[in-house]
Symmetry: C2
Subunit: 267 residues, 2 copies
Amino acid sequence: MKGFSLNQATTKYWSLDELVSGCVSVGVSAVGLWREEVTAFGTEKAASLVRDQGLTVSSLCRGGFFHDENWYDENRRAIEQAANLGTDTLVLVSGGLPGSSRDLDSARRHVGDAIGALVPDALAAGVRLAIEPLHPMFCSDRCVVSTLDQALHLASPYPASAVGVVIDTYHLWWDDTVWDGIARAGAEGRIAAFQLADWITPLPSGVLLGRGLPGTGAIDMKRFASAVRETGFDGFVEVEVFHEEVWSRPGASVLAEAIAGYEAAVA
Amino acid sequence: MKGFSLNQATTKYWSLDELVSGCVSVGVSAVGLWREEVTAFGTEKAASLVRDQGLTVSSLCRGGFFHDENWYDENRRAIEQAANLGTDTLVLVSGGLPGSSRDLDSARRHVGDAIGALVPDALAAGVRLAIEPLHPMFCSDRCVVSTLDQALHLASPYPASAVGVVIDTYHLWWDDTVWDGIARAGAEGRIAAFQLADWITPLPSGVLLGRGLPGTGAIDMKRFASAVRETGFDGFVEVEVFHEEVWSRPGASVLAEAIAGYEAAVA
């Protein structure tokens, strides 16, 4: 594995300038970025900033939401933005059930079809589409892809250079089949990103902002890091945490704790 | 399937007297009960009340929490209470990770061992231990059994007359493997209870009280009812919903809506 990367969402209130200087000042060599923040800052300007500071963009979040009316154009723009930022990984959050539908099978098939439609654009841009299974508690409203097995199944018709999967501890830790899935994802060359966040309770209302920094919760981070390392994964390990209390703290302190959590996991 | 049963938790603020008279007055022939309420009312008194009114007790919730210090004695008392109430089904909520442990495999093994230790008591009492897989969002703090596959695996060493599983739509709806699991559970004679509750968002803080009455959310209830019916399941269909807004309404109105949701599902 290449080392630590700070996902921008972890230090949400840092500007992109602060993120870059904060990372460079402590020797962090990679960041994961989010489309909204990059777009607000200016994509070309962001690309220059990270390039000039010698940073790698380990991933861009996020494409997906394939049930939105404009999904195709929006995802093509996301692919282009990823390429412009110099990252080879676009994380996909696939979206929940459309409208009042209760047809999960159909929603999941549509995700597969949509990804297939984007494969030529992804290959042309040199950007890999990284299907992220989200925790089943997000199934109805955010992502119908709930397990690593489902993500691998959706990826399977397409070349591994075009479609991969995201291993995020927060979403997958409860699944006793995840260890086999990680080994299989590695053997297929499909691990596009590896992200750390911990499971803490009680979950907050809406459950989106309930993640803990690695080491603060219930997840066996070392087992995940070992399993991913054993596949030969050679990417960065992103720490990606959403939590109001974490966001309220000084970015440098959060970054230090994120690095410590990463180091304990990969030790 | 035998018909509708009202789980007591759905009309939480009804006393046991109100629950029984409310059910009898609209022709409902079964109720699912909870230990705490039954104990407060008096187990013998509760048993007489339901028997005298011709009601079946479709299940008793709950045994389990196998990582508590007194789990063995507590579960033996639960089995005895179920037998005294005349129900053949004790629902097990197995408990989360013990203390600060992150060892899910070990916690799950302990659940299996604990259930095995209780099998002789269950057989002697004529009460089936019904392992309930809970939604993965409860994995750390309430139940390490997160999927129907896991529940069936834990049940597999023991006779189906002693150990079964609970199919609860709320906990299992997101799982694409659940249909195979239901068929397998049916073929093994292990479906001990079938419960309906719907998935609605946003989830409330703590996520426990976020369930909707059947028909109000994202779950394909008809598909679940068909899948369970096709196994030859001959038990009751319980509606079991926890939600403050539902609890705040008059019990008779909630019961009517629960029955309507059940009828739409099994139609």
